[in-house]
Point group: C2
Chain length 130, copies 2
Amino acid sequence: MWEREAKITDAELEVMEVLWQGGDLTLAQVKEGVTARKGWSGDTVKTLLRRLLEKGAVGQEKRGVYHYRPLVSREELGDYKTRTLIEKLYDGKAKDLVAALVERRQLDRSDVAELRDLFDKLWEERGEDA
Amino acid sequence: MWEREAKITDAELEVMEVLWQGGDLTLAQVKEGVTARKGWSGDTVKTLLRRLLEKGAVGQEKRGVYHYRPLVSREELGDYKTRTLIEKLYDGKAKDLVAALVERRQLDRSDVAELRDLFDKLWEERGEDA
DNA sequence: GCATATAGGGTACAACTGTAACCTCATTTT
DNA sequence: AAAATGAGGTTACAGTTGTACCCTATATGC
């Protein structure tokens, strides 16, 4: 993911959210989706969609009427934003973020259980090599 | 941490970083610290410090010359930004963030070891109650 | 005492963001 | 066909952010 895509703003994120869920939508459908979530005017949605096109985060294809689809996945964007957050506030150490989540009680009992298993398995799989 | 403090921008973060390290600094010292890191003009640093004061993220105290000190800790800010990131991109589930870090290989062998132990211990401590 | 450096206050200004309105042309409705 | 509706294009406008300059009063160096 290049820099331009990375600068997706909060308002634009709402539009991406609708596209991530819908996959391939007309403007009318995007408007509907975003308006349902946020109550913004259709014109506002249009502007956000245009900016996302300019940023290369969304693609448009003319099939009768234009259809829009995300060019960045939520996973990619999450990954990017998480990495920059770790850089800026956790001294570049992903582990410190996880430790902070634990410290701050952001993980409940079942999360801890799942993650304990996950790290156990991970240790088995990747423990010996590399 | 209230909303105003949360909106610390990237440029402002550099100033916070210096204050977090220095604790209680004069403008001249903050300028020096930030300029050393980023090469920005002293005036720029002044502006950023003023905005941080307005946002309530930094306090000022006149002892001869003004001294500045952070009113928000790096931990608080990290926590806040992490939580909003989780809200916006991981469906509110902290566990999903951690799983993504694993998936994306953001944790190395020793991180995995440490975290495995951490979650093990956490499971022992908090496993039975709550 | 005069020159100069510095602290503090105010102003600047373009790019980006949030939130929209306006205009025009084609299509559908009556 | 006249009117209403909708798609697409363009423009708007205040607030925020990044990055800095200018002015004044005071302190400091000779």
